[in-house]
Symmetry: C2
Subunit: 335 residues, 2 copies
């Protein structure tokens, strides 16, 4: 299923029995497509954020099961080994519910054989593209309802476009739908430290789409909102708990606080697959704590004195009461 | 007036008719002392943040007037030229009130001759050291009153120690006083993008002082506070308006929002000279907008696609209602 996105269609694919993926750690300076042929390589790619973004992790997990089946055939694994390898994929990152969910869904198809597994995994990919389009349009409807037809200055965080979830994306998909309706003035994008997904990926993707945008340091986001330089905040999610608490990239919570004080809508755009009814509240969501070096350095340049320690939470939790609405492909939830 | 601070005593000095200053852009990897012999060099040092921090800018401004007088003697400037050069120093950065205030104070001594100017400028330096010690002790009193004797986990932003204001500093001075009383567990320091004063300067200074500390990305600060991993927030100020609104390094506002929601004290530690009764409220404080490249790159490493634009506010304003207390060398103000 093509998407008319140019290079963005190469985000993740399945070719001759293996996974292809844009190396998101190399953007924006290089556009490298990696060929991932083993579970080891896939787990490494997920851990290093070569492949990232909650919906894309779901697709990567689904294709990962198909990849594990191929490797099992080549290397003569027994079913216990295959199960263990599939579990490694599911556990590669803890916060986004989509990864584990899609791995388990495709693993359930294993008894039907390798071809059925591949077909099911590719269907996850096609569904993700379709879902992103539907939730983008629904999100644009909601923002225009909340803020008027603008043109709106929309604030976002991290990267939530085609690189994060194929198709149009989630929050960036909403922005794209607003642009297509003439309702977008420009985008304000947080740089999103420590890994700079905003600077490296969102700015690049908005550039590809010809959408006017301005970067801000993460600490500047809340102040920019307080000055009403943003009309609305739209972000994605890695997991939504049953009570509406939202886990998303670290820095999201501060935008929600600022939006509430400024009276600006704070909208979460995420597929239904991100909602985890089995997690009661944000306090029950496992939050990944990553390596100190991501914070103490900047793209490989050490900023702090050698040996400085950090608290590197990759995600934070925004309590439901600060969320204006959660938009999925099917509905608008007002916590 | 020495200070028992080791290398930190070299932050700024006056030697053979010129200014010496640690190059704060080279820290933490190199400890370079610059010799500043002309107004051009001083203005450049202030603009590039070789010398920074509101109280230290006041001292630099005072010594700058003495420097201008020396240069006038050497180069035979008339008084109009001298006035113009002094004005350039006062205008080098707009937000911190201390710079302009101390320049004007020392310029008023000009009729008394070069020696009187130098003596007055050096007195500004000695006073800054004395003030920092007094406000540090008063701030520690206040925090223990607010939070108990701990030991406390104290959250701070940017750099507010000897590098920012000589002596003990402002917010970092409070932290040092808490440590000396056995009331400090550890410090959580925001990295403070875009120029990473937290990573480069605060982590280095806390290391010099042997104080345990952890860096967090700026976007993580509010979440860390929400999880009660911080018992109190202590920051400095670049200007306090008559109504108690506080201009400080970009990112401060988001900590104040988070502290309020978590029920954690948000304390501003600043000398009386930072309070500007002639500025009615935060809306009247000029906020410096700096170059896009500070956000799109770090130390020459470009993160965003070439040509990406940014909104690079160097400061934000925290409204008085979010401030628990402002501590000066003389008093505790509760806005």
């Amino acid at each position: 299923m093509s998407n008319g996105n140019g290079v963005l269609d190469d985000v993740i694919g399945w070719q001759d029995g293996h996974i292809t993926a844009i190396d998101q750690t190399a953007l924006p300076h290089r556009l490298d497509v990696l060929h991932i042929t083993t579970v080891d390589q896939l787990v490494d790619a997920i851990v290093r954020l070569v492949v990232r973004g909650a919906p894309l992790l779901g697709v990567a997990g689904a294709l990962g099961v198909a990849l594990a089946v191929r490797q099992a055939e080549r290397e003569g694994w027994d079913s216990a080994r295959l199960d263990a390898e599939i579990k490694r994929i599911a556990d590669a990152r803890p916060t986004a519910v989509n990864l584990r969910r899609e791995v388990l869904a495709i693993a359930a198809v294993l008894p039907d054989g390798a071809e059925a597994v591949e077909a099911a995994a590719l269907e996850v990919r096609d569904t993700a593209i379709d879902v992103s389009r539907r939730l983008s349009e629904r999100g644009a409807d909601l923002l225009i309802e909340e803020c008027g037809a603008g043109p709106l200055k929309v604030h976002t965080h991290c990267n939530t476009g085609a690189l994060a979830c194929l198709g149009w994306g989630t929050a960036l998909g909403v922005i794209r739908a607003l642009r297509d309706r003439g309702a977008l003035a420009h985008v304000i994008a947080d740089e999103t430290r420590p890994l700079l997904q905003g600077s490296r990926l969102t700015a690049w993707e908005l550039g590809q789409l010809g959408i006017e945008h301005y970067l801000v340091a993460d600490g500047a986001g809340p102040f920019v909102i307080s000055q009403r330089l943003s009309d609305a905040v739209v972000v994605g999610a890695d997991r939504v708990a049953a009570n509406g608490d939202v886990a998303n990239k670290i820095g999201t919570y501060s935008l929600a606080l600022a939006a509430r004080r400024a009276g600006v809508p704070f909208v979460v755009s995420a597929p239904e697959s991100t909602i985890d009814e089995s997690t009661a509240s944000g306090a029950d969501i496992p939050l990944e704590l990553r390596a100190d070096e991501e914070v103490t350095s900047f793209q490989g340049v050490l900023a702090a004195p050698e040996g400085t320690r950090a608290l590197n939470y990759a995600f934070d939790v925004t309590p439901a009461d600060l969320v204006t609405a959660i938009v999925t492909e099917n509905r608008v939830i007002r916590p």
